[in-house]
């Protein structure tokens, strides 16, 4: 039956632009209406004053009422023209295009590490539930989860500055451009090591616990008991039943983590001097660079919304049982009884 699926896709198609519009509008209003005159902030370092400042304001659209400004900005953004930075004049689109791969490298690696390690470790944890090693590890992991990632990163910095050879700044060494492909890759991975470590240990703990709970639930299920009674055991059992059945909840978790890829972590990028989206946003805020900040926040918001929507679609496709359930807030909930 195609109609329910088409109906859902239609609802999604209508709902997504609305969400995006809301998101960009809220961001725009917040930034535009924030107290403080951008021209004044700009004038401190540059030579703008009086008429020049007025002309600049008019050029940037700041002298218009904000709805007009928003619509103009929206029109330009739809063509991916986010204007130029107030500091340096570089096109915002270029800044974002340069910064995004760096953040993506960081967060994609972290996600890979997290989900790559969490599945086997979680299953193992579920199988060896009562072992001594795990009884010691669990409180330790719990403690590790509570460590703020930027504190861990700072401690690593302190330790490294006291004497250590781990790279602390940026994603490449200074002379990385001279390297061939393979050494360049190794160099990049070497630089990624510490930031990814800091980014991933907390989600790793969370995901391992999640996977362990899911695997435990599957292992205790009657049909698994029956299979074991029939003689199925060990790696085959794990591979064929446990992992497959726990995949769907895990994918749910993964789809919730996807928006992270574009935004990344501002503090980690700041600490390790990685010029990704977070760092760009941070510097834009510091320098009160409205076009850049607006562009970055919009791109991050839009990507998040899109990623979540894509994840939602993926989940419904993966899990037939969920296809019948109406989406939250959709018109399908009229099925519930309503109070007069």
């Amino acid at each position: 039956m195609r109609t329910p699926v088409v109906g859902r896709l239609l609802r999604l198609a209508l709902g997504l632009p609305l969400t995006l519009l809301l998101v960009t509008a809220i961001t725009f209003v917040l930034l535009r209406l924030a107290p403080g005159d951008p021209a004044a902030a700009l004038g401190a370092g540059s030579n703008l004053d009086g008429d020049a400042a007025q002309a600049w304001r008019r050029l940037q659209g700041l002298s218009e009422p904000w709805p007009v400004h928003y619509l103009n900005w929206l029109g330009r953004s739809l063509r991916l023209d986010f204007g130029a930075s107030w500091v340096g004049g570089q096109a915002v689109r270029d800044i974002i295009l340069q910064a995004m791969p760096k953040t993506a490298a960081l967060t994609a690696s972290a996600l890979l590490v997290v989900y790559g390690l969490a599945v086997p470790l979680g299953v193992l944890a579920a199988i060896h539930d009562r072992s001594l090693a795990l009884r010691i590890l669990r409180p330790l992991a719990f403690g590790a989860y509570a460590v703020p990632s930027f504190w861990a990163a700072l401690m690593l910095l302190v330790w490294a500055s006291a004497g250590g050879s781990l790279p602390l700044r940026g994603l490449h060494s200074a002379d990385a451009d001279d390297l061939e492909l393979f050494p360049w890759l190794i160099d990049s991975l070497w630089h990624l090591l510490l930031p990814v470590l800091c980014l991933s240990y907390a989600p790793l703990v969370r995901t391992i616990r999640f996977q362990q709970a899911a695997s435990r639930e599957i292992l205790d299920a009657p049909h698994i008991q029956a299979a074991r009674a029939r003689g199925l055991e060990g790696a085959v059992l794990v591979r064929r039943h446990v992992v497959r059945n726990s995949l769907v909840p895990l994918v749910t978790l993964l789809t919730l983590d996807l928006p992270w890829i574009v935004g990344g972590s501002v503090v980690i990028e700041r600490i390790f001097s990685i010029h990704g989206m977070g760092m760009v946003a941070f510097q834009a805020v510091l320098q009160r660079d409205l076009p850049v900040l607006l562009g970055v926040v919009t791109v991050v918001c839009v990507s998040s919304v899109a990623a979540l929507a894509a994840g939602d679609v993926l989940l419904r496709w993966l899990n037939p049982a969920q296809r019948a359930a109406p989406a939250a807030g959709s018109w399908g909930e009229r099925e519930y009884r309503r109070w007069p």
Partner: protein, 342 residues
């Protein structure tokens, strides 16, 4: 009740507190109590005014909180030095355990010094005592996180219950709004707000946090309300003629309290972390107000100053750990589903 009368109140309280029911909650609660005490009594732990000063001519009690005009502008160190010099002014001087104020600059002592007998946790960039700032920093950590969580709980629960109870157009609007706010990475928007308003009062931080983080609670409250709506007692209340408001407040709210409380406790842990991250980036409270994140902020440029990193970090870690442990305990005891864990 009879038991309490029989064995006496202190023993009864002790029995309740030490009962195995509370296993896993005692330690985090005790630690939270300790930190709260430290925050409330910060002026008694670290101040540049004496607790008690008795010279031949004057006597001052609790100058650290009373701030008498006679001692204004004079620090404990000055008074102590004056006592040693002039026999006339010598007397009894009782200081706080940490004899430095959080904003007191030790002129004549270099900034960024490691821990010593003079400054137990060293000094920061502005020659201020780190230990004093650590103790006073607990105030910001606890206050900002509690206030913002309270704010976003109020917003989230009200909106969620309202949407779940009435359904229809209200529900669609609220759900759309909730989805939007959840989808947006809160920290980016928070950074934008904080950075552009540059208003360093704690209230704006609380407000910003509260206005951005309510969505998850709203979603939870709405789901629970819908679940409750399907059960019988709401219909019964309806049949008895109770007004909608009464049903929502008297019947629905207490029954959704369990998952909301768990979400609140984990939310407190998150709020502490966010406030610290914000201060660490320089967009939290102003430089003068002592804050754990602010101490870490100073450490960023001076990576050899391990005392600026270790102490506030440990404090943050312990607070987050305590909230997490409390949340885990509540999860276990209240038997709520996994959807509340962040």
């Amino acid at each position: 009740m009879a038991m309490r009368r029989a064995i006496g109140l202190p023993r009864w309280v002790w029995r309740q507190v030490s009962s195995p029911r509370l296993a896993g909650a005692r330690l985090p609660l005790a630690w939270l109590l300790l930190l709260s005490g430290m925050a409330l009594g910060a002026d008694f732990l670290a101040s540049d005014k004496p607790l008690y000063l008795d010279t031949a001519t004057e006597r001052y009690w609790l100058a650290n909180i009373v701030d008498p005009p006679g001692l204004r502008g004079r620090t404990v160190q000055e008074l102590r030095a004056a006592q040693q010099v002039d026999a006339r002014t010598s007397g009894i001087l009782v200081t706080t355990p940490i004899a430095w104020g959080p904003n007191q600059q030790d002129t004549g002592y270099p900034p960024l010094m490691p821990p010593s007998s003079r400054h137990w946790l060293g000094t920061d960039l502005s020659r201020r005592d780190v230990a004093a700032r650590l103790v006073h920093g607990a105030r910001i950590a606890l206050w900002v996180s509690s206030a913002s969580v309270t704010l976003y709980l109020c917003i989230g629960v009200v909106l969620g219950v309202w949407a779940g109870f009435f359904g229809g157009a209200v529900d669609v609007v609220v759900t759309k709004l909730t989805e939007t706010v959840i989808a947006v990475p809160a920290f980016f928007l928070l950074l934008a707000i904080r950075g552009f308003s540059r208003d360093t009062s704690e209230w704006t931080i609380v407000l910003s946090l509260g206005l951005l983080l309510w969505a998850r609670v709203a979603r939870l409250a709405r789901a629970e309300t819908i679940r409750l709506r399907g059960s019988g007692f709401v219909d019964a209340a309806r049949a008895l003629g109770y007004s909608n408001t009464r049903i929502m407040v008297v019947h629905i709210l207490p029954n959704i309290a369990a998952p909301v409380v768990v979400a609140a406790v984990f939310g407190l842990a998150g709020a502490v972390r966010i406030e610290a991250a914000l201060s660490f980036l320089g967009f939290g409270v102003d430089e003068w107000t002592p804050s754990w994140g602010g101490l870490l902020h100073q450490a960023l440029g001076q990576t050899q100053a391990w005392w600026l990193v270790l102490a506030p970090g440990l404090a943050l870690f312990s607070l987050v750990l305590a909230y997490n442990a409390l949340g885990e305990f509540l999860l276990r005891v209240l038997a709520v589903g996994p959807q509340v864990h962040d």
